[in-house]
Structures are given as C-alpha cells and as structure tokens.
C-alpha cells in the first residue's frame, strides 16, 4: 500500500488547486468571449454539459503529448516512436515522418513474443494463407475452425482445468461472461481495484455489487458474513449465489493478490471465485502457469479462471477455463460466443505456437529461458530502483512496477525527459488511478537484455534527480563495496 507523506499531499493538492482555478478562469473567458460566436447546435443539448469534460479540456489536453504516442515498428524491447508536433498548444498533434529509436518500458510484452518470432511467425503466415484473415462468422454458425478447438484444449491443459472457451477480445470476455453467470438476485463481491471490464460486466449483469478492500481477506470475510446473514436488500431473501472476483496481478499496483487466504475464506462460506489472470498468465510462476502456480494454489479450488492472450502471448483475445458443465453452459448462453465474430485464425495460431514454446513442446528450451529471464529481469530492476531511492510498488516476481510521482507537474516532466533520452515510459494519472497518486508504470519483458535494463536505470535515475521523485533515502554503499572500490584504486 502507498503511504502518502503529508508534505507531498499538500503540494499535490495545491498544484491541482491552481490548475483548477486556472481552468475555471479560462472557461469563464471562453464563455464571455465566445458567446458571440454562433452556436451551431441550434436547440440540441451539447455532447458534454458543463463540468463533465472539465478534466479533459483543462488538465489532460495540456499534457496530451505524453499519451497515445504512435510507434512505427513492432512493440519489441527497442522500438521506433513517431515524433509529433503541435501548432496550437497541444490541442491537436500532427505526425511527422521522423522516428526515434527508444527503449520500450511500457508495452505488455512479458515473454517477448511481440515482434516476429522465429518459431511463431512462419506458422502464423502459413495459417493466414490457409484460413485467411477472418472467418466472417460467429463461432456457432460457421466460425469454428480446427484451430479454435485445438487452442481450447491446449489452454485448458496449460491452465489445469477440464475445459476452456475462447473469445476474440479480453475486454469482451469479462463484459459478456459475468452477465451469463449471474443475474438479478445474486451478489458479486469484487476487489476495489478491479479493472473496468469487470466493473462493466458486473453492472451489465443486473446483480447486486459490493466492493471489498483491496487484497484484504479479513474485510472480505466480514462482508461475506454480513451479506449472507442479511440476504438480499429490502426483501431479505437468501442470495441465489455469490461470486467473488479478484485479479492475479493488479496492473496499476503491480501487486499479486492474496490468493491462498481469499480462496480459504471463499471455500468456508461456499462462495464461487472468479480469477482474472490478464497480467499474470504466462508471466509468473515457474512454468508460466500464473499466480496459482506461484502461490501454491490448486487450480481446482478456483471455480473460473479467465485470462487474455494480449500480454504474454503477443496476440489478441481472451479465454475462460472452468469445469466442463460451466463451459457447456457458456457455449449455449454467452452472447460473445453467439454474436461476435470468431477470433482471427492467425491470432489463434500465434497463441498455439507461443504456448508450445512455453511448454517446451517445440523441441527447444526457449520457453524456460524466457520465463527465467523475465523473473530475473523484474527482480533486478525492482531492487535497483528501490536502492536508488524511488518509491516502487508491487511484489517480488511481478513484472509490473509503478514508480510514484504524485505531483501533476512531474507527470509530463518525467515522461518528456525520458523520451528525450530515448527511453519510453508510461505515465498514468486520474482517472485510472486516484487523483493524488499519479505514477509511472514500468513493464519488464523477457526480451530486455541486462544492458538494456542498465541503460534504462541510468536514464530513470538521472531524470528522477531532475524531477525530484526520489522520495526515499538512497541506500549507502555497503562497506564491502567500498573496500572493493578502494582495491581497484
């Protein structure tokens, strides 16, 4: 958890206050000066009324060049970032032809499958020529190919569940599955920091939604006891079913979830569990099988396991793995299976090949090397950052590490300075994080070599000094190291 020092909180609030006041002044001037301009809405209500888009217009647009940077090569360890310029103070950005090669610390490329791979790409191109780009049909009509069936079996085997079902987009997986499982009269308890797709799915299902404190099994237990004892609101009838939704790695915190305790609580109260492993499948665990393997939880204890193929497998799409009955039920009722175009066959082949590499079924040990590399890289990077005095969140072994910035002015400063020195980082602010807790988020990949990481650390340290985000004291050099240095002299 993040501890916000009082002085930093005060200065951050002061900065936001000044920005807010300036924004209101500019709005006032716009109303006074532009009211004469003809309003061509003619009786229609505007798309955004009043303060609905105040944040976008007055705060986000100022630093718009830090987000949405286009690239013109594969999102590998080094990539080409397209340079943009603006003629009207960041309101619109124009592309140029120039690109600069930067170190990629922002893409979700945990196992390095993002660029053309020697095993995967030839097979993908073969599949493209055989099955063409898309099936133009939904899975239940004429969109199921041999590849889809093969991948479903492979995913089920990899994750450790009896059966699996595929979808073409990770976001849609959550939004369309949760309404198919629960409906009015059921209760969904979700972690307070769950992803937007889970929130949308829970709202779309019509069930009652309650939130428990992030990663706190004791609060979950209290909430469960209270809810089961009181039943549905107003009628006090018993709940039909209760589902607890948690994530493997929380992408904005870099933390692993407290899986063993939460599963124990859920089993005690006969509650179903839904685990979203979007960021953790393929990236953590000794053989890449996710948080269950890392934390020693049996996959049969989790009722439904969901994951995406975008992050560790370099493709697109999502899956759900569960028991045969649940998967059969979903195949008959899930709207994403019945109405959405099936996953593109080359993307399916990419996942099949990536899984074969990870499992070692391609005949080499590249998979095991990649998994060891990402673990080593994440732990090295995190410990070095902490030694330099940055406030880094997240647990060991997690490839996602947020560095706290807090102050709104430091967001563009950090991002632009790093880009000038050819390191591309991702900065996140409100509304993806709480208002006062802006951060820069680093995603480590197995494609990064030790030299890449050292260069990244150098640049981040220099920029960190300039911007002033080393909130913790720098660890002094240990006496042994000092003796070694003296010996060299």
């Amino acid at each position: 958890m993040v501890r916000l020092p009082y002085l930093t909180a005060l200065t951050t609030l002061l900065s936001y206050g000044i920005l807010f006041v300036f924004g209101q002044l500019r709005d006032l001037f716009r109303k006074l000066l532009d009211s004469s301009k003809s309003n061509n809405l003619q009786g229609y209500a505007p798309i955004c009324l009043g303060l609905e888009d105040f944040y976008t217009r007055r705060l986000y647009l100022r630093i718009q060049d830090c987000f949405g940077r286009p690239i013109s090569s594969a999102p590998d360890a080094w990539f080409d970032v397209v340079e943009r310029y603006s003629n009207d103070n960041n309101k619109t950005l124009q592309r140029t032809e120039k690109t600069s090669k930067c170190l990629n610390l922002g893409s979700y490329n945990y196992l390095g499958f993002a660029a053309a791979d020697e095993y995967c790409t030839p097979r993908v191109i073969e599949t493209l020529k055989e099955y063409s780009v898309s099936t133009c049909s939904v899975r239940v009509d004429g969109g199921t190919t041999k590849l889809h069936n093969e991948l479903e079996e492979l995913v089920a085997r990899f994750v450790g569940k009896p059966a699996a079902i595929l979808f073409g987009m990770g976001y849609v997986t959550n939004s369309a599955i949760i309404p198919a499982l629960v409906s009015k009269g059921s209760l969904i308890i979700s972690d307070s920091l769950n992803h937007n797709s889970i929130v949308n799915g829970a709202r779309g299902s019509g069930a009652t939604v309650r939130v428990f404190q992030h990663n706190s099994p004791s609060h979950l237990e209290d909430l469960l006891r209270e809810q089961i004892a009181h039943g549905q609101p107003r009628t006090h009838r018993p709940w039909k079913k209760i589902v607890v939704i948690i994530e493997g790695i929380y992408s904005m915190e870099g933390e692993l979830c407290n899986l063993p305790e939460i599963i124990a609580v859920c089993k005690k109260y006969k509650v179903y569990t839904y685990l979203d492993e979007a960021h953790s499948i393929g990236a953590v665990g000794k053989t890449g099988k996710g948080v269950c393997e890392l934390l020693g939880v049996d996959p049969t204890d989790v009722d439904i396991m969901m994951g995406t193929f975008t992050k560790s497998f370099g493709s697109c799409g999502g899956y759900i793995a569960a028991s045969k009955e649940i998967i059969q039920h979903l195949k008959r009722t899930c709207p994403a299976h019945l109405y959405a175009t099936s996953m593109s066959p080359p993307a399916v082949q990419q996942v099949i090949s990536a899984l074969q590499v990870i499992l070692g079924e391609d005949g080499t040990n590249r998979g095991a090397k990649k998994l060891a590399q990402i673990r080593e890289n994440s732990n090295f990077f995190r410990s070095e950052l902490q030694k330099m005095g940055f406030e880094v969140l997240g647990d060991n072994d997690s490839p996602v590490m947020p560095i706290m910035l807090y102050n709104p002015a430091k967001i563009p400063a950090f991002s632009r300075e790093c880009l000038n020195q050819n390191v591309a980082v991702v900065t996140v602010a409100f509304p993806a994080t709480p208002l006062l807790l802006a951060r820069a988020r680093i995603c480590i990949s197995a494609a990064h070599t030790r030299e890449d990481l050292i260069k990244g650390l150098e640049v981040i340290s220099k920029v960190g000094d300039l911007v002033g985000i080393k909130y913790f004291p720098v660890e002094p050099l240990k006496p042994q190291k000092v003796r070694e240095l003296k010996k060299l002299e």
Partner: protein, 479 residues
C-alpha cells in the same frame, strides 16, 4: 335529585372560580401569586415530567456472532450453472479451410452460406499480401492500449482511410466488432438522457443501452409511424430540451430480420424533433450504395446529417475490429471516454492493414457490388416458393431471412424444426446454412428463422443448388 345535582355542581363551580380569582395570598420575590398561577405551574411541571420520560421503543438487538455462523452454515447456494442434458449439447460444424464460398467442413466440401463474406474478400491476394507484410514487420498483437504505445501507424492510416472513404472528418478504430456499439452508446448517453431505439436491435446494442443508464423507449421494428408516435410522446413529456441529450438508435440492416431502415424518413423525423442518430452499419458498409459507402449513399442522405455511425469490420471487409465515425467532436470525445477504446488493447496491426487493403479494393472494383446484388436477386427469386417458409428480409439485404409460414406455437419446437432442416441440408446436400441462435440474455422479440449470407463470389450454380436443396428438405420436414 336533579336540583340537588345542580346545586352541587353550582357550588363546585363557585368554589373553583373563587379559588382562581382569589386575591393575592402571597407575594413571592415581588411576584404576586394568584390562584391560577399555581394551576399553570402544575401543568408545566407535568409536561416537563412527561417529556423527560423515555418513550417505549422495542430494543434493537444486532445478530450475535453465533447466529451469523448458523445463518452462514444454513445457506445453500444455487449451482453456478444449471445442469445441461446430453441432448442439449450441439457442436457447431468445424471448418478445415478458409470460410470462402466453398469450404471444407468435417472432411467434405460444402457450399458455404454461413459467412458474412459479402464482397468475397476471403482469400483475396492483395489482402493476404498486405497482412504478410504487416505480420513480418509488427508481429501479431499490439501489446498495449491506444494510450500507452499501442497506437501503431497502420491504425492512424486506417482511421484516415475510412474517414476519407466515407467523407467524414475522422474516425476511430475499435479492436472488436461487437465492442464498438456497446462502448459508443455509454460514452454519449448518460443517466437522464432519452434514447428511442428499435425493438429488433441485436444484443450488443441492447447491452450498450442498458449500460448507459438512460431512459430507453422502444418503437415497433422498422415502423416509421410507431417511431413518430414515440418521438411525439417522449418530447411532450420532456422538460429541458437544452439539457437533455436525445438519441435515436437504429441499425442500417437489422441482423435479426434483414430489414433495411428507411434513413431518409428517420432523418426527417430527427430534424423535426431535435434528436441525434446513432446508426449501426455493420452489415451495410461495403454493401449498400453505388460505391459501397453504406445506407447514407443508398438513401441519398448527406453523411453530415448522421451524427454517429458505427460498424463492425467483420462482414464485408473480411477482417476484424470495428470503427466509429462522425464529426470531429464525436470522434475526439470517444478517445478518452469510450471504455472499449481506453481500457483495451488496440487492434492487431495486421487486421488494420487488411482493412486498408479491403477498402482500397472496394474503391478500385465497385463492380463487385453489382455482382452481389445480382446474386441476392437470383437467390430471392429461387427462394420465393419454398414450401413452409417465407422470405422476410428486404430485397437488397445480403442476409436472407426465412421464417416458418405457420409457427407451431412454441419457440422450442420451431427451433427444433429449423435445426433439423439446416442439419439435413448440410448432411445430404452439402450446403451450410444457419438458424438464428438466441442467448437467454437477449430480449429481442423478433421471430427466429433460417439465415443465408450471400456473397459476391458465389456462383450461380451454388445459388441454385442451395435453393433446390432447401426446397426439397423443407417439403420433407414441414409437410
């Protein structure tokens, strides 16, 4: 007796009045104490006494830990999913080749009417070449959302290409067909807004309407009189036209029935009642109009009059993903507030380059549209006298919809009959057609039926074979 009672009462009254009017008996701290003052003080004391007494409330006892334990032990949850019997499990046909007009299903070659491959672009050389180039350059996935280095130059090129093709200022790409509409609607419609939607819209639109939390009113499927009456009713009730946003949601070609929305009438109504239009052109982009620019070109409506157009690219363009286009304000607003755009990884770059190649092909070869129209006309002609089934789709719709002339009364038996027709057609004559599948979450009230997706690359022999097979099997099953 009466006189004695009267005497007693008279005496009592005289005594009371004398006490009350008695002259000052005492002077207490300078205040003369009259008789009535004593009574008043007594009354005040009684009132204060009552006020200070606790009123009777039944005591609130919270549940004790032991009671909560008992309740938790007693509670039995429903199973997560209901039991499914063996007969309800149906495996869809498995393709072993590309989903072109002739495909290999379960080992044998069939004529494929189940893919929405309207322009016959599956297997097109140009598209395959551009995809191979993109795969070698960019890999498969884009590994990030649009805001965090997931924007690749092909995405920007694709957006500009589509906007130029349609004649709008800009467009925005989404990474999956159905997520387009259910992200666009909640981005523009909030609680308190009014939406008038067609009752036959498909599930993704219904989900978007539900997530938007606005007031939704449905009008009868493709019935302009019903739309006008609904608009009249809704505007007469609404109080603040300048503060409440109002939208009409319709599809160009309805997926559930094959009808085409009369856009010119809708635009007239929208201008009269001051509504905005959200039009889903998934099945009409690349199909309707002289050059394939969609329903606006077909109806002769200038594209600026339609506020928001969305489309999935998984149909005519033979790729995946979706786009939304409109004025600059409409497109810019979605870049920060549309959840399917902001919180999801971007479209894989090879699919974006396939879209660019498909639009280029359509621009260069608009004769493929007349091929498609000829095929639809031929097939409709052949299917006009199928025993037991009637065609209910529009004459220009590439989705040909056949429903039972006489429904058996229950949806389940109807479904059973249609399934057996489709299975027999596939097994005996090797023609792949599909029935409407409905999820139990779908609230569409339109009838189910058989669907055939016509493609520009179907040959005349294919169409005749399909029609003959359908006539034969329908007369067997429905006699």
């Amino acid at each position: 007796m009466a006189s004695e009672l009267m005497n007693v009462t008279a005496n009592a009254l005289v005594w009371i009045s004398s006490t009350l009017d008695a002259p000052t008996r005492a002077v207490f701290f300078g205040v003369p104490i009259d008789g009535h003052l004593v009574v008043e003080v007594l009354l005040v004391v009684v009132i204060l006494f009552q006020l200070t007494r606790k009123s009777y409330k039944p005591p609130k006892k919270p549940l004790s830990e032991k009671e909560i334990d008992e309740l938790c032990d007693d509670w039995v949850p429903e199973p997560l999913t209901p039991q499914i019997s063996e007969e309800m499990i149906v495996e869809p046909p498995t393709l072993e080749s590309a989903a072109g007009p002739h495909a290999i299903v379960d080992g044998k070659e069939v004529v494929n009417f189940a893919s929405a491959n309207y322009l016959g672009l599956i297997g097109n050389e140009n598209i395959t070449d551009s995809c191979v180039g993109a795969l070698e350059k960019y890999g498969v996935g884009s590994c990030g959302p649009r805001g965090f280095y997931g924007t690749i130059d092909v995405h920007l090129d694709c957006e500009t290409k589509i906007a130029k093709f349609l004649g709008t200022p800009d467009s925005i790409l989404y990474s999956y067909g159905i997520s387009t509409i259910f992200s666009v609607i909640p981005a523009f419609c909030k609680k308190g807004d009014i939406i008038v939607a067609d009752e036959g819209v498909h599930w993704a639109v219904q989900n978007g309407l539900y997530l938007s939390r606005s007031t939704v009113v449905y009008f009868k499927h493709n019935d302009m009189k019903s739309l006008e009456a609904t608009l009249e009713k809704v505007t007469s009730r609404s109080k603040h036209p300048e503060k409440v946003r109002r939208y009409i949601v319709a599809e160009a070609i309805y997926q559930n029935s094959g009808q085409i929305a009369p856009l010119d009438e809708i635009v007239k109504l929208k201008e009269k009642y001051l509504f905005r239009i959200i039009l889903d052109e998934s099945h009409s982009f690349g199909v309707l109009g002289n050059s394939g620019r969609g329903l606006a070109e077909y109806c002769g409506v200038p594209i600026e009059k339609i506020d928001i157009i969305t489309a999935g690219m998984g149909n005519a363009l033979a790729t995946d993903g979706g786009f939304c286009t409109g004025s600059m304000r409409v497109v810019d607003h979605q870049r920060l507030s549309s959840s399917g755009y902001v919180f999801s990884a971007s479209l894989p770059p090879y699919l974006a380059s396939a879209a660019i190649a498909a639009v280029n092909y359509l621009e260069a070869n608009s004769s493929v549209l007349s091929d498609l129209r000829a095929n639809i006309a031929t097939l409709l002609n052949e299917l006009s006298n199928v025993p037991g089934l009637v065609v209910t789709s529009h004459s220009l719709s590439p989705i040909i919809f056949l429903k039972l002339k006489k429904s058996t009364g229950s949806d389940k038996t109807d479904m059973h009959l249609l399934d057996s027709i489709a299975n027999q057609v596939l097994k005996e004559d090797s023609v792949l057609i599909v029935t409407t599948k409905r999820s139990n979450l779908d609230k569409c009230p339109l009838p189910i039926g058989l669907r055939l997706f016509v493609s520009a690359s179907h040959s005349e022999a294919d169409l005749l074979k399909a029609a003959a097979s359908l006539k034969r099997v329908a007369s067997l099953v429905l006699s």
